[in-house]
């Protein structure tokens, strides 16, 4: 909880300094665009029209994060199969979930930067769902596991070679209580 607040303060400070140096988009400001000026579009009103049934169970993005580190499950290019070498990582998480019945988990699927962003979003989801299915097979209640795909949007390693891509094709575990 303390570390969360700390991060928030750091982020706010960073944003403030950006605004101060003029790097941040200024509201109503103008900048040099591609062949013309661009202007700010102003605020956007939000409406929520989403309801209905939730076969995967309700989302739980707002829980208190559990400070527990697990190794990321890694995948081959364009693949969502959990290879033999990765199975023990999922089993470690399964053990923890069995011992801590009040903990819920989001399996977060990621891809490397190659290929289409839209396809990578689906592939990342497929990876997260493969891990979820394995955990359910280990006896963890599916209602305790959500999936979230980031596709190629949040690489762990910003590099552009196979050593970076290998680490970026992954499922991460975010735990909440």
């Amino acid at each position: 909880m303390l570390s969360r607040t700390f991060y928030k303060v750091v982020i706010v400070c960073c944003l403030c300094s950006l605004v101060g140096t003029g790097c941040f988009w200024r509201r109503g400001g103008k900048g040099r665009g591609a062949g013309g000026d661009f202007s700010d579009s102003g605020e956007i009103l939000d409406i929520d029209r989403v309801g209905g049934d939730n076969p995967l169970g309700p989302r739980f993005a707002d829980g208190v994060p559990v400070d527990e580190q697990f190794q990321n499950v890694l995948f081959a290019y364009d693949s969502f199969s959990i290879t033999d070498s990765e199975i023990s990582k999922v089993e470690t998480v399964g053990d923890y979930m069995t011992r801590n019945q009040d903990v819920r988990l989001i399996a977060e699927g990621h891809c490397d930067e190659r290929g289409s962003r839209e396809y990578n979003l689906s592939l990342g989801e497929h990876r997260a769902l493969a891990v979820r299915a394995y955990l359910v097979g280990l006896g963890v209640d599916g209602a305790r596991i959500q999936t979230r795909s980031y596709g190629e949007e949040q690489p762990l390693d910003p590099g552009h070679d196979e050593s970076a891509w290998r680490l970026n094709r992954r499922v991460e575990f975010a735990l909440f209580r």
Partner: protein
Amino acid sequence: MLGRMAVRAVLVWAVAICGVPFRSIAQVTVVKPGAEKVAINTAGMRPAGADAGRVFRATLDSDLERSGWFTLTGEVASLTVAGVAEDSRGRLEVSCSLLYAGRPRNSFKRSYNAQSSDARRLAHRVADEIVEAVKGVPGIASTRIAMIGSVGGRKDLFICDAYGGGLVQVTRQGAVCLAPGWYPDGDSIVYTSFHKGFPDIYRIDLSSRRRTRIVGYPGLNTGADISPDGRSMVLTLSKDGNPELYVMDVSGQRVTRLTRTPHAAEASPSWSPDGKRIVYVSDSSGSPQLYVVSRAGGGAQRISVRGNENVAPDWGPDGRIAFSSRRSGRYQICVLDPDSGEPEEQVTTDYVDHEDPSWARDERHIVYARTARYESVLYLLDTMGDPEIRLTAMQGDWYSPACSPK
């Protein structure tokens, strides 16, 4: 410049060594059937009064030239544009006639008026009407392009004009967003955003600046494409345990599942122009490939044959599908008519990545994201062989373009 030439020289040398086909943009000079340009003389369109008249005339000339269909000339031409563009007290009054040489009657004679500050927009409209009158396809000068811009680590939705001007930032959420597409009326954009922590589908009404979250099932909600009649959308959901395609009405109700592939992920659906079929990506064969399925569901047919990956299809207004195909390690834009039986055509050749093609409504131009040295830039590509036009010049990455339908 010297550095650039050196890079090009090295590239040419490297390609010569590797034997990979390579042509620089300037060397592509293919003239295709139907690509012969019509000479047009606009000297008879006279600006009058204050500045807006001259802005109108200059924009009209440049739009006609960039449409690809015309050669501007001061000589006797087969087409003549004549009239007056008068800027008086903040209003721009335009009368415009289009004449074919050797024919006594005007092809059209029309009047327009707008605020003087809208001179460019009015010129775009007149240019598009001239293209339509002469070639029978809509012009694209009034087209807007939605895109994602990644600047300083933030990803937001932007819009620019057909040739890259007038860049406007639409969202400033800071949350990851992707896959923008237009509603057929051109007034709203549908896109995917992590605004509430998960990938959900949002609609932004550009005039009211209202954003509505329209689909937000557990798991993945993305890739929405609005049907040509504006009533339905096709999208990717994982709510039933696996990424599959679904059709639902635009309000987010009445969901119908289209695909059933428990061991494959589906993505990137795009409607056929008649709204009866959908082209999409599936990795059911082990790599992402293109398939076509009826709107009513049923069996899907694979249509991509070459390339070890085929992704990001966009079904264009004349029935041809543009997509990105991995060839010799790079993504190239290809065009395929699934009903003609003709072989597909590769329309880019440079040894860089060409991704996310989006057809312009003139059935001739394609906007796409070109990635070289890990920087993405949007380009307007002419399938009939005119040189490409670079659309984005600002720092950052620019990708996932979508051409407005109006």
